[in-house]
Amino acid sequence: MNWTHVKATAAAAVLAAGMGMPAAADDLSYQEVTDMLHVVMDTDRSVYTKNVVARLAVKDKVIKASEYYEDEQALPLPAQMFRFGAEGVADKTDAFSYSLLSLWPINKQNAPRTDLEKEGLQYIVDNPGENFYGEEELGGEVYFTAVYPDVAVAQVCASCHNDHKDTPRSDFELDDVMGGVVIRIPMD
């Protein structure tokens, strides 16, 4: 694939600085930018899942994690934390957007909608350990779209999804690909 090179966005520069890379990098490809963004997202997501939810709600059992965390005075679910972050980013910039999707979503809003999302999510399931990259036109604008596998990093990921009343699949196991992180950058 012929990757168009782009000037590093402010987000990428910040990420680069945080990762010990030269902050002045100014010729990153779209793929390099989304890869860097994903490293941060994936790491934060894993930390929250393991060090907060799995530890407090499963191991120590001092608090629950619930979709209705305000009503239940509980922890937000890892997927909600991820979505809140995505919405917060969308409030601040149009330079990129991201979401957590799955071929087996509990919330139907998180099912793939675009053809590329469907292709990408199927690809990362069929090719464990690999990412998917492509371009798509949405709302009259062309996007670079990257899909990264989202795996069950803790047993609680699999067990909660398997037991949820709305799950379309109940045989997830630790380290299974349960869905994918989709990152988009407008190419204009």
Binding site: Y68, A90, S99, P105, R113, T114, K165, R169, S170
Partner: protein
Amino acid sequence: MSRNALLWLIWFIATLSASAAVAALVFVGGDRSSLLIGETTGTHAQFEMACESCHAGNALDTDKKQAKALNKTCVTCHQDELKASNDSHPYKKFRDPRMADYWDLIDARTCTACHAEHKPEITRPGAVTLAMDYCVACHSQGEQDVRVNRASHAGLGFETCASSGCHNFHDNRALYEDFLVKHADEPWLHEAPVHELEAALRSPRAPAPAAAPTPTPAMSPAPEGALTVEIVAAYEASAHPGGEVGCASCHAAEAGKEPSAEDVLANWQDQPGTATCESCHKAEAKTFRIGRHGMRRHPKIAKPRDPVRALKAVGIKLDRKGELATLIREYLSDAPYPTVMTVAESPLPMKAEAAHEELTCTSCHGPHRVDLNRARVESCASCHDDGHTRAYFGSPHHKLWQAELAGAAAPGTGVTCATCHLPKEETERGLVTNHNQNDVLRPNEKMIRPVCMDCHGLGFAIDALADPGLVSSNFQGRPETHIESIDWATRRVREKATGANQ
């Protein structure tokens, strides 16, 4: 010059002048009421001539930019209630490019997609200007097809989604599935129904005025004749003396703290305005200004335009002396926007004798005798004259209130107008009354959690609020409507054990 040429010249000059006059009204200032393209909705009518409150964009911007600016002003005022409602369809959700195929169906990135203004002929409950089956646009296809996702919904019409008491577009805090299941088995009335927050703030009715009260030091100084027996008695029965609020605190607020007698008398106002009350009762004032009663004091309403400044920006000086400049300034000046609403301006049925009343703090609370019990019922009924209000007197809720007033029932067991429409809230500053009477009203399911469920089970509350006849009779009787939400939700959860949902 030929006659035709002269007529063309006259026509040209007249057209140019008329266009300039109209353009000046639109872009500079002046009475533009004749240019209103259609009545605004609900309480927007209270400031509809302050056009810039909503139309904040630059007139020369592209349509897209203007639409963005317009919608930004919606959020400016409504963001708090949307946040509090745990909005089911936040506009930010639809900004994601993956939602692009929805934009052609209903562009929910903008408020105006569903709530167009100045279109009274197509404005429906909830200020919705779409056909009431609008849910069909997204929830009849693909993964969002509700008829596939919910077997119980297979035969339902999309016009019933938001009109039956089952769903709202924004606020579903009392209607989401897990909440329905959690409260499925509640009785219609709890064993010892009481409004806990109300109970904490209610006190016995103010004592009767003393026969010949004596002015206290806190009252002095005051102009001669100001301290009538009635006023002093009312003041002493209020909470103000306990709070060391004297006459000068309100009537001579401009005199500063611990003013001299001369300062008080020099700054004395017989009828201090609402701003005086607001200076102490900040939390109440904040919600009063965002409700219908005090909307005209809303902080986000645009100020009248300044024609001198507007024309100066394009190089025209209007601050000159002379009759012509004065005439133009008068033509281009916005009339001051009213800061209070009168009862006569309400679109609701009101008592004719109250038509002239203005809606300020003292409309309900009285200036000196701050009788909260009067404010809870009688103040409302002194203006409102609809069936729901009239039916309150003699209703079960009213009887409970009478019992509480008589000391025959515990504080918080009586149900007043304010119990439901101006509920108490716990804030960082303690318990306060929410003076935005619309906060729990439209749609009325917003009332279920903060009000109804203090005393009633969820199922009864949903049914009761979905029965217009019962609402109109002020809940005298039982609901004739049954909303099946809870039945369907519990059935679905039980069927989970059999894998029926997968």
